[in-house]
């Protein structure tokens, strides 16, 4: 699986507007399908699991990053 260089650039691939950590997801143009695709990209292997139920609680880009990191701790190194 191809990994993004970092979370920001991965998110930028799906966002339709510029963003910071406090930007609401919808304002950045990110919908649930985009979030899932991001999660798949951020994951390091096929054994990783996505807890999609947490997606409902994601409001901002910062929340999204936390979720992606929690799903796969190794992803945090991508955010350096």
């Amino acid at each position: 699986m191809t990994s993004p260089a970092d979370l920001d650039s991965a998110i930028a691939k799906y966002a339709t507007a510029s963003f910071t950590d406090s930007t609401p997801l919808l304002e950045a143009g990110l919908e649930s399908l985009s979030l899932l695709r991001l999660a798949i990209e951020a994951a390091t292997d096929d054994d990783a699991e996505i807890d999609a139920t947490r997606m409902a609680g994601l409001c901002t880009i910062g929340d999204l990053k936390d979720w992606l990191r929690s799903m796969d701790p190794s992803a945090s190194r991508l955010d350096a």
Binding site: D46, D47, I50, A52
Partner: protein, 1057 residues
């Protein structure tokens, strides 16, 4: 290249039995018993680069099946439902239909091939649940393949992985030597995903979430679109679609609205669709089902499979809230609630809510919203396009598909044609279109204002009978008739008759006397005479004074009579038999020498009568009825019921019941004769039948509850009624059956007239049936309004309801009474300005009705008496109608008892002869879904009725509770079974359901049995008794007794075989 997938996974030892997801488990059960399992076939047409050779395509399809293990599943039900994977097929072994057609026929051939593939059901236990079609233009200008797969192996998300794999297989992205590794990796990923799903579904968190969610859903009313009596409970799933495409401007507005409200298009469409469903279902809370992805492992996003949980979003609609508050607050929160619990499975909710699963309708919710994926062709070269042809089925009552397309959204409504008529579907689409447009235009509007009035002219349609009013007052009309036919007989009662001249003279004389005693115009004068002659004289004598008569029945409790005269400020009563403080009794012959006055004659501005009707507060309300409505009613009835000098109308109704006016006044206005009941008791039907026959009655007007006993008495006596022309009924919902119809077949000159109307308006609508009508609806419509009456069906949004939408019936035009006497507050609440016509008033009945596609009004009940049993709305009259067909049953009445969660049905039978309850139960079981079969049946000596002859359901419900308690108290504590088989089956169920003391003849569904645990129980039955019980047969009578009978029959069949 799929190198990362092919190389990153380590092959694991696959179990021979793969677990199923909960969604698969449910679908496997349903597939086993629906008569048309092909409804779960899903079609996908993939347009291909025609330069690809057929061999290349077929080889790619073989690779596709190899690397997508879901397609290779074969299912087995026992001992635990599971799947096994068949080996990857060789290209030659693919189930593939090939068609080569001239280029001009390509599209048609592709559609035909898709239809052909989709119509054949799969045997899920015998072979993989997919098949292919391949269509090619003979000149190589076009090519496509069609995948038909059962829903149990794929979902909406599966399109992406399937198309990606196919593109790779067609373009060399999956080299032949990498296929085995990719197959192993995908099988491993598939098994992991199944394990992850099962682990999640049974986790403590998910179970807790399911319980909380079930509580959150418990009070949501059933959603019934296009409600009507005898609405099919099962269908063949024949579907049709209507659609609407948002243009670019509307799509831009939708995006802006989503941005402004910080919601997704899914939230916005869920909210607006939910509001449309709430309007059309006549409720304020609805469940909108939607598929939520349940894929957990990253690897599963490369897999085809049935990995969704279809779950309900609860949409609570407050019609006065602004659109922005509704969508951005209520609906967004509701969607988040569902999303954050998407691990919960549909089966868990259904089981917790004890929803009925015995019919082929989807439990829990009947309407779906699906956000459809679209194919992005930018990244593919071999795959040119993907579409999902419909297969002319509808798995839900209504399904909304929302597909984002280039430049707009496509909104498609797919509806079940047996449940929803095309005109009703058009209305649904109309509501959706208006709601979307208005929501996008103005977020500050209220949710109610998202909708518009349906046709105003439909409200004004009448039964076609004219109403010519020749006089300004009822008295004038009577006098004119009397002048024309002074010697004709006006009143005929045993021992006494009155000619028209005598009637008029006596009435005038009484009026002179009453005026002499101080009675003035607009006074309310009580009327309590014994005989029909005196009653009629008194009625017109009071009207002659310009006063209002108030019927007082001496049999009523003294307190109630006192309340009535006090409320009406009534100080004078004509007649006898009542003794009320402050009230003078006057009689025609009591004071021959008393002073006389000069009565004014009838006064048009004076109300003819005041009648009290029961009020919700427990105190009766006095309805003051004016001249205008009564003159119109009289004129209409003369035309509609053919009154003339030959009319002989039996006076049956109590005087305090407004029907009495219809018996007396139109008959006299037309020069006919009102015939007294005499000494015949109203409930002595044999005597009544003889009276009607002997007196050559032409018209009779009965309470609905009296119709069957009347018809049955006539049949027993062998009476014939050559003079009878019209049998009118009213008072409650009319249910008819073959026995009632037979009476009218034997009396082809006589019709049955169902009238409807509250006291506040008098009778206002009618529906007729004759013996010549081939089809009699068991639940007779209330029909069409009479001349001068407007029948407005006002839906939950406050607008005129479209066809098929239930609403409160508001009655306008000439019919509303003046109001409740001396009660301005209640009058203002019930009598409203007619905002539809622009002037006049309407009476708000509180009766729930629906206008069908023919414009006919159908009574659905009082808004507050809907019965909900195991998730379904139940019409009690339908149960009565079936039970009434059992020989020996004179009258059957079903009632609902118990609190909301434990509601159960009880049936009372009034019988002519001893009736076997098992026979009744068998008849009900054969005709009705199991949730409509009463749990208990009791015989009864008489059906309690209210003062106006209506069945007293409250009294029966109280009696049911008492009898059930007595029966429970009388039980010995140990349940009795007929034999060891019944005992063994009961013990099995007790173990499966974790309950004790299962009664042999009580529905197992009441104890918690449902389709999934039935599956488990039947596996044990097969193991222990060697027979496989058909699930559908069991659900027809889900009791231990019936199950034991089934097992015995199956055993015997096996011995014979």
């Amino acid at each position: 290249m799929l190198t990362e997938t092919a190389t990153s996974s380590t092959a694991e030892q696959l179990p021979t039995r793969l677990p199923l997801t909960e969604s698969q488990r449910g679908l496997l059960v349903v597939d086993g018993w629906v008569p048309t399992p092909q409804i779960y076939n899903q079609l996908m047409q993939v347009d291909l680069d025609p330069a690809l050779t057929t061999d290349t395509v077929v080889a790619a399809l073989a690779v596709l099946v190899a690397v997508q293990p879901a397609l290779r599943q074969v299912f087995a039900p026992l001992p635990d439902a599971h799947a096994s994977l068949t080996p990857p097929p060789s290209p030659q072994d693919l189930p593939l239909d090939r068609v080569v057609v001239p280029a001009g026929e390509f599209a048609t051939a592709a559609a035909a091939l898709a239809e052909q593939l989709g119509q054949r059901p799969f045997d899920l236990h015998a072979a993989p649940a997919y098949r292919f079609g391949y269509v090619r233009a003979a000149d190589d200008s076009a090519a496509a393949f069609i995948l038909c797969a059962h829903h149990i192996v794929s979902d909406g998300v599966s399109m992406g992985p399937l198309v990606r794999d196919l593109e790779n297989a067609l373009t060399g992205g999956i080299p032949a030597d990498s296929v085995p590794a990719l197959v192993a990796a995908r099988e491993t990923a598939f098994a992991r995903e199944l394990r992850a799903q099962n682990r999640t579904a049974t986790s403590e968190r998910t179970v807790d979430n399911a319980k909380a969610w079930a509580e959150h859903l418990r009070d949501v009313p059933p959603l019934v679109l296009s409600p009507r009596p005898n609405r099919p409970r099962e269908t063949d799933f024949a579907g049709a679609r209507v659609s609407w495409r948002l243009d670019e401007r509307e799509t831009a507005l939708l995006s802006q609205a989503c941005k402004r409200l910080a919601v997704t298009p899914f939230v916005l469409l869920t909210g607006l669709y939910g509001a449309v469903l709430a309007r059309h279902g006549g409720v304020s809370s609805v469940l909108v089902g939607s598929p939520f992805t349940a894929r957990r492992t990253i690897g599963a996003f490369d897999l085809c499979g049935f990995f969704v949980n279809t779950l309900p979003v609860r949409v609570d609609v407050d019609w006065d809230r602004t659109v922005d508050e509704f969508l951005g607050g209520v609906v967004r929160t509701a969607v988040d609630y569902a999303k954050s619990r998407a691990d919960v499975t549909f089966n868990q909710l259904v089981a917790l809510l004890r929803q009925d699963r015995t019919s082929n309708r989807n439990p829990l919710f009947s309407c779906m919203l699906a956000m459809q994926d679209t194919f992005d062709g930018a990244a593919t070269s071999a795959v040119l396009g993907v579409s999902e042809p419909g297969n002319h089925t509808a798995k839900f009552d209504l399904w909304l598909g929302a597909t984002p397309e280039r430049g707009g959204w496509l909104l498609e409504l797919e509806y079940d044609r047996e449940l929803i008529a095309p005109t009703v579907a058009d209305g649904l689409l109309g509501s959706l279109r208006t709601a979307v447009r208005r929501a996008l235009a103005d977020g500050s509007a209220t949710v109610a204002d998202l909708f518009a009035d349906a046709s105003f002219t439909a409200s004004l349609r009448t039964d076609g009978h004219s109403a010519r009013v020749p006089s300004a007052t009822l008295v004038d009309w009577l006098r004119a008739t009397a002048a024309a036919t002074p010697d004709a007989r006006a009143i005929d009662e045993p021992g006494r008759t009155l000619s028209y001249a005598e009637l008029v003279a006596s009435a005038e004389e009484l009026a002179r006397y009453l005026v002499g005693q101080g009675v003035a115009p607009h006074d309310v004068v009580g009327l309590a005479e014994d005989t029909l002659c005196d009653t009629t004289i008194a009625m017109f004598g009071i009207l002659w004074c310009g006063a209002t008569f108030l019927p007082l029945d001496p049999s009523l409790p003294a307190d109630r009579l006192a309340y009535m005269v006090d409320k009406a400020d009534c100080r004078v009563v004509v007649g006898d038999g009542v003794d009320l403080p402050g009230v003078r009794l006057l009689g025609i012959d009591k004071e021959p020498d008393a002073a006389r006055g000069a009565p004014p004659g009838g006064m048009a501005e004076s109300a003819p009568y005041l009648m009290f009707t029961s009020g919700s507060s427990g105190l009766p309300k006095g309805v003051l009825m004016g001249h205008g409505p009564l003159l119109n009613l009289t004129a209409w009835q003369i035309a509609a019921l053919g009154h003339d000098s030959d009319t002989r109308f039996l006076q049956y109704a109590p005087l305090g019941f407004d029907v009495s006016f219809q018996e007396i006044m139109p008959t006299l206005a037309a020069g006919g004769t009102v015939v007294a009941r005499g000494s015949v008791d109203r409930r002595d039907f044999p005597a009544l039948v003889r009276r009607v026959a002997d007196a050559e009655i032409t018209h009779i007007y009965l309470p609905v509850a009296a119709l069957r006993p009347f018809v049955q008495a006539a049949q027993r006596i062998g009476a014939r009624f050559p003079a009878l022309r019209h049998v009118c009924v009213s008072g409650e919902q009319l249910l008819v059956d073959d026995e009632v119809r037979a009476f009218f077949v034997e009396h082809p000159h006589c019709d049955l007239v169902n009238l409807y109307g509250p006291t506040e308006t008098h009778a206002v609508t009618t529906h007729r049936l004759t013996g010549a009508d081939q089809q009699w609806p068991s639940h007779v419509p209330i029909g069409l309004p009479m001349h001068g009456v407007a029948g407005y069906v006002v839906d939950r949004t406050g607008h005129l309801a479209p066809v098929g939408v239930p609403g409160d019936l508001h009655l306008g035009g000439l019919c509303p009474a003046e109001g409740y006497l001396n009660d301005p507050e209640r009058t203002t609440a019930a009598f409203l300005p007619d905002r539809f016509a622009g002037d006049g008033r309407v009476y708000r009945t509180g009766d729930l009705v629906v206008r069908d596609e023919h414009g006919v009004l159908i009574f659905l009940g009082r808004d507050d008496t809907q019965v909900k049993i195991r998730g379904y709305r139940v019409e009690l009259g339908e149960i009565d109608a079936v039970a009434n067909t059992v020989p020996g049953v004179r009258q059957a009445v079903a009632v609902a008892t118990g609190a909301a969660g434990d509601r159960e049905l009880v049936l009372f039978l009034l019988n002519d002869i001893a009736v076997d309850h098992e026979e009744v139960r068998a008849r009900l079981t054969a005709a009705l879904p199991s949730y409509m079969v009463p749990v208990r049946i009791f015989d009864i000596d008489s059906i309690p009725t209210s003062g106006t002859g209506k069945t007293d359901h409250s009294a029966l419900a109280a009696l049911a509770d008492r009898l059930a308690a007595e029966r429970a108290g009388a039980a010995t504590g140990e349940v009795q079974y007929r034999d060891d088989l019944e005992r063994a089956l009961a013990e099995l169920w007790q173990e499966v359901l974790d309950v004790e003391g299962i009664e042999p003849d009580r529905s197992l569904l009441e104890y918690g049995a449902h389709s999934l645990n039935v599956f488990a129980a039947f596996a044990v039955i097969e193991e222990q008794h060697g027979v496989s019980v058909p699930v559908a047969d069991f659900f027809r009578a889900p009791t231990v007794v019936a199950l034991a009978d089934l097992v015995r029959e199956l055993r015997e069949d096996e011995v014979v075989a």
